[in-house]
């Protein structure tokens, strides 16, 4: 067992046989997550995030390659993994006809947590999740956000070393979302739990120590958020043209423009030299009778980095 590595995969492949043919959902995935790290697997829908997570957990059969959690092989040491990992599935269905308390006790007992420990941990976890007052409520009658929190609590009851979350904040209201991340932050700070999560939300990537950008089954970037953002060439200009389409076409052709992305009604233009190109762009727009509003340089975010990286594939 390599010291300090919580999760690793090398050349991981997962194929599905469908009516349309064979689909390679995960295509040669290499990733490493160190202990105590927060790792985000970021990518659009259908990129293979859920499949990769499930294969690493041993919930799906590996087609090729290798994957380990805490040094245990996903296929061979399935039960050792399950005792040490907490997981919230994408459709995180918990038995709806059990109460919050009954759910907690069930998962705790199944994980082998002693009665004494349960008496200590469960109230703590419920408090942590803000569900203390709902102990007797049927799980099916909780709101979406509360269900997620319950799922989190249940996944933590056996004090796992690794926590794997599949799109944990999908469909959750912004307030609950923030609370959820706060909870995870506390967890990491206090217990040093390795957190691995998948998300299509680029902004959540900012919260990670390490990011894996996944696209069509393999990683196109595996670095810290800052490093990834720096991968984008040039500097970023943003402005709102009065006439969108002609402006877009025009800017794309110009010298020194490395890349143009759209963002709502705005254009994001990557240029090699901000000062010089900014003037050139404004002039070019003016000749076409297009005014530019709110022109400024901005820091590229994950989204821009991601789109840029995808385009270069």
């Amino acid at each position: 067992m390599e010291n300090g590595v919580a999760i690793s995969s090398r050349g991981l492949v997962k194929t599905f046989d469908t009516r349309e043919g064979t689909v390679r959902a995960v295509d040669g995935l290499d990733l490493t997550v160190r202990r105590g790290e927060t790792f985000g697997l970021i990518g659009p829908d259908g990129a293979g995030k859920t499949t990769a997570t499930r294969v690493i957990l041993g919930l799906l059969r590996r087609s090729a390659g290798e994957s380990h959690i805490l040094g245990y092989d996903s296929m061979r040491d399935t039960y050792e993994i399950r005792e040490r990992v907490g997981y919230i599935a994408q459709q995180f269905a918990l038995p709806a006809d059990l109460t919050v308390m009954e759910n907690m006790r069930f998962f705790a007992s199944v994980q082998g947590v002693s009665r004494r420990e349960q008496a200590r941990r469960i109230p703590e976890l419920l408090g942590f999740a803000g569900l203390s007052a709902f102990g007797d409520r049927l799980a099916g009658r909780l709101s979406g956000g509360m269900k997620k929190k319950l799922a989190l609590a249940c996944s933590l009851v056996h004090e796992p070393q690794v926590l794997m979350l599949d799109e944990p904040t999908l469909g959750v209201d912004p307030v609950s979302r923030r609370e959820f991340w706060e909870m995870l932050g506390d967890l990491r700070a206090e217990k040093g739990v390795t957190i691995f999560f998948c998300t299509p939300y680029m902004d959540e990537a900012e919260r990670c120590d390490w990011v894996g950008l996944i696209y069509e089954g393999c990683l196109i970037a595996h670095d810290s958020p800052e490093a990834i953002k720096k991968k984008v060439p040039g500097r970023l200009l943003e402005f709102t043209p009065s006439d969108f389409v002609p402006a877009w076409r025009a800017v794309e052709e110009m010298d020194g423009v490395l890349e143009v992305q759209t963002y709502g009604a705005m254009l994001h233009v990557f240029v090699d030299d901000v000062a010089r190109r900014r003037e050139e762009i404004e002039t070019a727009m003016a000749t076409q009778g297009i005014t530019c509003q709110g022109t400024r340089e901005i820091e590229p975010r994950m989204e821009e980095a991601f789109i840029s990286l995808i385009r270069r594939q």
Binding site: L59, A89, A96, L98, R105, F106
Partner: protein, 386 residues
């Protein structure tokens, strides 16, 4: 390992809570067998009497009327209508107004005197029970009537000097056969039905409850969260089996108690032996249901298969239709159903009052069946999502 027991305990607890929370299903599982038992017990009857009959009496003389009266007196035939001739009788059967017809030709008395009278009995062949009852009843009445006439004739000839049996009647039958029906001398329908019925009802309940158990969670997506726990497939299955076992044992007690105290079926054998064997039987049924559940892809499929089993239970286990005449293949299918063995065991213990030594083969098969089915279920239970 203590952890294993803890896990199983947690699973059993969870399943129990879920069963109790769904009180409607719970109620049905407890009450339906009683309901079915009542219906079955009172509906089952293979002998039909009071068959609606049409009579075409083309003689209308003393002999013909005596014969018709004999038919009515037997209790098997109820004269619904008098018709003109054979054709009208057939038409009446076609219509469904009657299910049997008697046609007596003209000049009946004269023919009887000559000794060559013939009566035609028509039976509705679309209904098997009419046929089997009506056939033997008609022949029996004819024979009895014939004997009466012979007695008259011989007595008229004054042959008393021949001597005879204890009654001094020369025409008494030389061989008197007494019939005894073992275990059920009064030929009480309930005693025939209840023990075997117990087996069938328990089987159907067990399979029904267990068959949905696994598939349901899979369909709802709950299975993923449980799969990721360290619970082993066998433990999950045992967890599902245990509370259902309790439930169906309660069913068994209800059914048997009803049978004894309401229907008056005598329980001749050892109740403890019966209790343990029924436990074994229920386990085999639940195991079979769980196997179905792991194999079925959707609840719809599980339901279809369960329905099929129910039908098989009714018809192939020897409860109603005897197994001996069935072709080998059909009998083999019947052998795959645990109820087939338990029907014999139940009858053996309750009605015949025999001990295990008489039925060890059936018991051994049930044990083997339970083990096999659980092993199969545990191995086919998917540890992963694919």
């Amino acid at each position: 390992m203590r952890k294993r027991f803890k896990r199983i305990g947690a699973l059993i607890q969870k399943e129990s809570i879920q069963i109790v929370r769904d009180w409607r299903t719970l109620l049905m599982v407890l009450l339906l067998p009683v309901l079915e038992m009542f219906l079955f017990a009172y509906a089952v009857s293979l002998t039909v009497d009071h068959i609606p009959t049409a009579v075409a009496d083309m003689s209308m003389d003393s002999q013909s009327q005596a014969f018709v009266n004999a038919l009515i007196a037997s209790g098997y035939f109820d004269v619904e209508t008098y018709v003109a001739d054979e054709k009208a009788a057939v038409r009446a059967i076609d219509e469904g107004q009657v299910r049997a017809g008697i046609v007596i030709p003209p000049d009946f008395s004269a023919r009887v005197a000559r000794g060559d009278a013939q009566v035609l009995v028509l039976l509705d062949g679309s209904d098997s029970s009419t046929v089997s009852s009506g056939y033997s009843a008609a022949l029996a009445v004819a024979q009895a009537r014939g004997m009466e006439l012979v007695v008259e004739k011989v007595n008229r000839m004054g042959m008393g000097a021949l001597g005879g049996g204890p009654s001094g009647d020369v025409t008494a039958l030389p061989i008197a056969t007494s019939m005894r029906v073992l275990y059920n001398p009064a030929r009480d329908d309930m005693i025939f039905v209840v023990p075997g019925l117990t087996a069938i009802l328990l089987q159907v309940m067990a399979i029904g409850q267990a068959a949905v158990a696994v598939v349901r969670e899979r369909e709802l997506g709950v299975d993923e969260q449980i799969l990721i726990s360290p619970a082993r497939p066998l433990e999950i299955l045992v967890g599902k089996m245990a509370p259902n076992l309790v439930l169906i044992v309660v069913d068994m007690l209800i059914i048997v108690l009803f049978g004894i105290f309401w229907f008056g079926v005598p329980f001749r054998g050892n109740p403890w032996v019966f209790g343990w064997l029924s436990l074994l039987f229920i386990v085999s049924g639940l195991g079979l249901g769980l196997l179905i559940s792991t194999v079925a892809k959707t609840q719809k499929q599980a339901q279809q298969i369960t329905m099929l089993f129910m039908m098989l239970c009714m018809l192939l286990t020897g409860l109603i239709y005897p197994r001996e005449p069935m072709p080998l293949l059909v009998r083999a299918v019947g052998n795959l159903i645990p109820a087939t063995y338990f029907v014999r065991i139940a009858r053996g213990i309750i009605t015949k009052g025999v001990g295990v030594s008489f039925m060890w083969r059936d018991v051994a098969i049930l044990v083997g069946y339970s083990v096999l089915v659980m092993v199969l279920a545990a191995t086919t239970f998917k540890k992963r999502l694919d």
